[in-house]
């Protein structure tokens, strides 16, 4: 078997050196400065630990200590560094765990406003990109079909010739960045090279919101919702809980507003074309075509004004005309929402998604003003870069000037325009017309393949930088490791082009900061900033705003046309595009964790699917897995159908970011490239697309069988959901808190023998289903912490995915609805992992005692004892055990293995594995506590899933400590166990879900007793 472990041992065998050479081209390797080489050895080191246990005495191992050990470094003790990563112009704070110089895990920085200690799945997975062997590994100059290996000096000498004088003919294409240093250097660059063009573009852009505020207030502003104050939240095609730079604070604030209290809980209204995780949380959800959202919002406005006498600010008077024509048949959605909003003026807010036009955002702004949201549930801050033209405009102009030959040197600093620019612009063709093209990127991607220079970019964990959070808080970015592939950051490139002979990101950032920390001693301030990762109290002040009547009036007609947009029909449906929940705009396509992560809604992996409403599927004769050809504007592509109840009729949803051709070994040819249908005219909603069955059918790699299912199974499933995922309406709960306990009944649980007593620390967990929104963050956290392998598309189809946490997604339909007549359905999530049964069925069936109970109540799994009978998995009522059917680590390059957590055994083939409450974290804390003779404090041990949960849905602690938070939660009236009737005594319990439907009683009737003398209720153990 292969096992991984590294204390301060670092290896240096011939095989290993070979491996290094394979990973890194010779020239690169030799040119590295000694320091780097040492770093190298350090990080590459323990890969020798992969020598298999073949003989009685396994192969000779070497211990290669430092020659000079860094200050205060104790080998084998992990350290955490605060840094940040910039995604789409907003910086997210990280705490990165580093083990003997190897960054191994991304966690959130509790001090950072957009992180609060949590991280979305995507950013956690970004650690894989650091070690990705597919990354660009050296400067390449492509000339006459030849590739030449170059050095940074070669490049800068070349660049200094090209980018010179006034910079005429030079254009810089940059992805948007929140970094003050980049901004500063950009300013300098513009001053130095007055004639050079600077273009900023993001495929997933929030410009619509920015422009919307510009319409409403005359200048671009940034919207800052404050959901913790909101009692009524209305989302129109908005997904604030995932598709937002501040998703984490937003969803956490929402969760706080959903905690049961005498005052009741907030209410969420959502109107959207396809399910989002926000939609999954909605109390009232309306599936509506993307093109009909303006109409719906306008109808709401009309309802408010006409039937509820809402006075809009007088600047918006002319604007009103635009929505006079609104006629959406929202059913009782509009009246209900209108009434609710009016009832909660000042404590309600309307949010519109970035996929909607600027005018719609303007309308929302007007309504928010009218409802008194501004200042309480929503504030504005000045847009950081008011000067820039919007992304779409910018790239369109650039392409124009490229075609006209104005541009002769194009520097692409990040981004992948060849792949993600609007299709109608023909960026690739334009690029061919530019004589000198440079691409700085992590990967040798679609764009760089067409550029003459490819420059390896330093990963954010390899380089210095800074950034600003969504609310403006200043954030630092520090390297944890020397660039593995000799890459450099945008900052260093810019600095160099501005004539710095030896550009240092570190110095540039310090220079910028020296401006920011006005008062006091800079060094201390700098040290603190580095330590905290943020500079406190640097968030932007709320902007003073005043509606701008003229620009509103001007936008009126545009809004009117949007409102009047034609309804899609099944035979000419609309296609709604969205950033993928996993690979985002495509930048994480080569990230195996993201590719294998089951999508929150479709549970599909390794694909982008076409989400179709059941009714539309019937009309078009489509069924699960059918490959259909979607065509629009001359382009066409194929997508597999995934029927999703709750999808808007005649509206097909799919995601961007797939079908890459130069992503790398993982991401190439996964899914299909929907950017090809995306034009500057219709970035998000493509009307009247053609749909044709190809007749081919594929197996979707879903981790959960979707709702297409035989009648018997469908019925049984629906019967079970209500007891598995208990849910009731807040009013009913407040009236009778025991309602949850009465949802399931079972005979008294009698045991054949005396119950085992558990003294001392007893670990337990509580998962709040009222907080969980199915965002998948915990799944990736667990994967990173526990060295969980990726198995690939085929194996997922074979139902062999390895994730220890499975987020069960169920569609809740009305009783009596059959599988064929499902239309709409609510979504409920249940994170399911090993619940550490006290009477664990898995234990007694293992013939070699490879899984057994520990004194502290954990259902331990001993990998090195397991012989792989898989009996435990069969006998696990929750099927949370995962089996290594093959050696899934065999394919990994040594450099990828550097990410492994040395505190957790890497399982090889033929071994069963499962959640152990992160026993390595428990042991670490326990040993530490015992070493200094103190008890373990409550909350000191935090499993990876709980650590990263954006909504704090997961709580872990000592059940025997009456003061611990977990004990309180277990005493909560909402707490219940799954399948307790089996007398398995689960250590993990769930807290029931609460809904807040208008006048709904939300289920939770008293279940019929399973047994004559029914005394015990759901709550147990």
């Amino acid at each position: 078997m292969q096992y991984w472990r590294s204390m301060d041992e670092l290896a240096q065998t011939p095989e290993f050196k070979e491996a290094v050479k394979r990973e890194f081209p010779n020239d690169e390797w030799d040119r590295l400065p000694p320091a780097t080489r040492r770093q190298f050895l350090k990080v590459m080191g323990a890969s020798v630990a992969f020598a298999g246990l073949t003989s009685c005495r396994w192969p000779k191992q070497e211990i290669v200590p430092f020659a000079h050990r860094p200050e205060g470094r104790t080998p084998g003790i992990p350290e955490q560094y605060a840094t940040s990563i910039d995604v789409g112009g907003s910086a997210l704070g990280l705490l990165v765990t580093s083990m003997d110089g190897r960054p191994i895990k991304n966690e959130g920085n509790p001090l950072h406003p957009d992180s609060l200690g949590a991280l979305p799945a995507t950013i956690q997975s970004d650690i894989l990109a650091l070690y990705d062997p597919d990354r660009s590994q050296g400067l390449v100059l492509r000339q006459g079909g030849q590739d030449y290996v170059k050095t940074w000096d070669d490049f800068h000498t070349w660049a200094s010739e090209k980018v010179a004088g006034t910079g005429a003919g030079v254009a810089v294409f940059a992805e948007s960045s929140s970094s003050p240093t980049v901004a500063r250097l950009q300013q300098q660059f513009r001053q130095t090279f007055a004639d050079a063009a600077w273009v900023e573009y993001e495929p997933i852009s929030r410009d619509a919101e920015r422009e919307g505020t510009a319409i409403a207030y005359g200048r671009p502003l940034r919207v800052q919702p404050h959901l913790d104050h909101a009692r009524v939240i209305a989302c129109f095609d908005a997904d604030p809980f995932l598709a937002h730079p501040a998703a984490i604070p937003l969803s956490r604030a929402f969760t706080e507003g959903r905690q049961p209290s005498e005052a009741g809980i907030s209410r969420l209204w959502v109107a959207e074309p396809g399910y989002t995780i926000t939609g999954g949380q909605a109390d009232h959800r309306k599936a509506v075509a993307g093109s009909q959202v303006p109409n719906l919002l306008a109808s709401l406005a009309r309802e408010l004004v006409a039937n509820h006498q809402l006075e809009l600010p007088e600047q918006a008077m002319n604007f009103e005309a635009a929505f006079g024509s609104a006629n959406a048949d929202g059913g009782d959605f509009i009246p209900g929402l209108a009434a609710d909003l009016m009832a909660h003026r000042g404590s309600s807010v309307i949010l519109v998604g970035h996929g909607q036009a600027a005018e719609v955002h303007a309308l929302a702004a007007v309504l928010n003003e009218g409802l008194g949201a501004v200042g309480s549930t929503l504030t504005y801050t000045e847009a950081p870069d008011p000067g820039r033209s919007n992304h779409l405009q910018a790239i369109a102009d650039l392409v124009a000037s490229m075609n006209s030959g104005v541009v002769d040197t194009l520097m692409i600093l990040g981004g992948n325009p060849v792949y993600d620019a609007p299709a109608d612009l023909g960026f690739a063709e334009a690029l061919a017309k530019v004589s000198h093209t440079v691409h700085l990127g992590l990967y040798d991607d679609e764009t760089s393949k067409l550029c003459s220079w490819q420059l390896p970019r330093a990963h954010s964990l390899e380089s210095w930088g800074d950034g600003r959070a969504w609310d403006g808080t200043l954030t630092l970015q520090q390297p944890l490791i020397e660039p593995l592939y000799g890459g450099r950051s945008t900052i260093e490139i810019l600095a160099a082009m501005l004539g710095e002979s030896n550009p240092s990101g570190h110095d540039s950032v310090r220079d910028t900061m020296s401006a920011s920390f006005a008062d006091g001693d800079f060094e201390t301030a700098w040290k603190n900033a580095l330590h905290d990762g943020i500079v406190s109290d640097t968030a932007w002040e709320p902007a003073v705003t005043e509606l701008d009547g003229s620009s509103l009036a001007a936008a009126g007609t545009a809004l009117a046309t949007l409102v009047g947009a034609a309804k899609p029909t099944a035979h000419s449906p609309e296609l709604v595009l969205a950033a993928d929940r996993k690979v985002f705009d495509g930048r994480w396509s080569n990230n195996a964790w993201q590719q294998e992560l089951p999508d929150a809604i479709t549970k599909a992996t390794w694909d982008n699917v076409l989400e179709v409403a059941p009714v539309t599927a019937r009309e078009l004769g489509l069924s699960e897995g059918d490959m259909v050809e979607i065509s629009a504007g001359g382009a066409s592509l194929e997508l597999p159908v995934c029927v999703i109840p709750g999808q808007a009729a005649a509206t097909l949803s799919t995601s961007l970011g797939y079908g890459r051709t130069a992503a790398g070994t993982v991401g190439n040819d996964v899914g299909s490239d929907t950017y090809r249908l995306r034009t500057s005219a219709s970035l998000w909603v493509i009307p009247e697309v053609g749909v044709a069955k190809t007749g081919r059918k594929i197996a979707l790699a879903t981790t959960q069988d979707h709702f297409a299912i035989d009648a018997i199974g469908f019925g049984a499933r629906n019967d079970r959901i209500s007891t598995l995922i208990r849910e009731t309406n807040i009013d009913r709960y407040l009236a009778d808190p025991d309602v949850i306990q009465h949802m399931d009944h079972h005979p008294p649980l009698v045991s054949l023998w005396k119950d085992k007593q558990y003294p001392g620390e007893q670990w337990g967990m509580a998962i709040d289903l009222n907080a969980c929104n199915g965002c998948n963050a915990c799944v990736v956290a667990c994967q990173a912490e526990n060295n969980i392998p990726v198995v690939g598309r085929e194996q997922v189809i074979n139902q062999r995915e390895m994730h220890w946490i499975r987020i069960d997604r169920y569609f809740k339909t009305e009783p009596g609805v059959g599988p064929l007549d499902v239309e709409d359905a609510e979504i409920v999530f249940q994170p399911m992992t090993c619940i550490q049964c006290e009477n664990a069925p898995c234990e007694q069936v293992c013939p070699v005692a490879a899984t057994q109970h520990t004194e502290d109540g954990i259902n331990a799994m001993i990998y090195n004892r397991c012989i792989g009978t898989r009996y435990c998995s069969n006998n696990c009522p929750l099927k949370v055990r995962r089996f290594n059917f093959f050696n899934y680590h065999k394919e990994l390059a040594d450099v990828e293995k550097l990410q492994f957590n040395p505190e957790v055994t890497v399982r090889s083939r033929g071994v069963m594995e499962k959640c152990t409450y992160c026993v390595q974290r428990i042991q670490a804390v326990r040993i530490g506590a015992r070493n200094d003779n103190r008890p373990i404090a409550d909350g000191e041990i935090v499993p990876a899933c709980a650590q990263t949960c954006p909504t704090k849905a997961i709580t872990f602690g000592d059940l025997n400590n009456p003061e611990s938070e977990i004990s309180h939660l277990r005493g909560d009236k909402r707490a219940y166990g799954t399948l307790v009737e089996l007398n398995i005594r689960p250590r993990t319990q769930y807290l029931a879900r609460l809904s807040n439907k208008v006048g709904g009683d939300g289920g939770g009737g008293h279940a019929p007793p399973h047994h004559a003398d029914d005394s015990d209720h759901g709550k147990e153990g």
């Binding site: 023998w753 085992k756 006290e838 009477n839 664990a840 234990e843 007694q844 005692a849 109970h853």
Partner: protein
């Protein structure tokens, strides 16, 4: 072959005798003969039949075998060993906490104990039988007798060893002849 068999064997050619063998092919006559030989008071004699002939034991006056006691003993040993093994391994040497069950509880241990009982007993039955019978014994004077060849086919034989105190070659030979056998053979060591 009957006649010449007797004639060819030379009673006094010096070679050491094992004994005499007479063969019959009718069960009734055979059993008659057996009772006669028994009554003649021989002790070192035996009969050889292709299959179990009912009543032969009585006719020869063979006492019941002790085998059952051996097997019973072995069975008990197996059972004890089975339970002891499970008790020692799971309750004494390294007690595991499994599914909140008791460290040692008989119900779970019955199957293994039972199987061990049967195993020990069964093996002892075969081994015991062979041991009591002095088998395997590949080399035995009787194997060089021609008549014996049919003892595993269709003939019924009586063999009287020379070692028997009552054995006198001529007399015994006559006795056997008097029983009307198909043939009588002198078997040498």
């Amino acid at each position: 072959m009957t006649a010449d068999t007797t004639s060819r064997t030379n009673p006094n050619d010096g070679a050491e005798l094992f004994g005499l063998v007479a063969s019959f092919d009718k069960i009734d006559e055979f059993l008659e003969a057996v009772t006669k030989v028994r009554d003649a008071g021989f002790s070192k004699w035996d009969t050889h039949t292709p299959f179990v002939v009912h009543g032969l034991d009585a006719a020869m006056g063979i006492k019941p075998t002790k085998l059952p006691f051996l097997v019973f003993g072995a069975g008990l040993t197996g059972c004890t060993a089975g339970i002891a093994l499970q008790w020692f391994t799971n309750a004494v040497d390294y007690p595991f906490l499994i599914s909140g069950k008791p460290i040692f509880s008989l119900p779970a241990n019955i199957p293994v104990a039972f199987e061990m009982t049967i195993l020990f007993a069964a093996i002892s039955a075969l081994v015991g039988m062979l041991a009591f019978n002095g088998l395997p014994q590949l080399s035995h004077p009787l194997h060089s007798s021609r008549l014996m060849k049919r003892a595993t086919d269709d003939k019924f034989l009586i063999s009287i060893e020379a070692a028997d105190p009552k054995f006198e070659l001529v007399k015994t030979h006559e006795l056997l002849e008097s029983l009307g056998p198909l043939a009588v053979e002198v078997v040498e060591v």
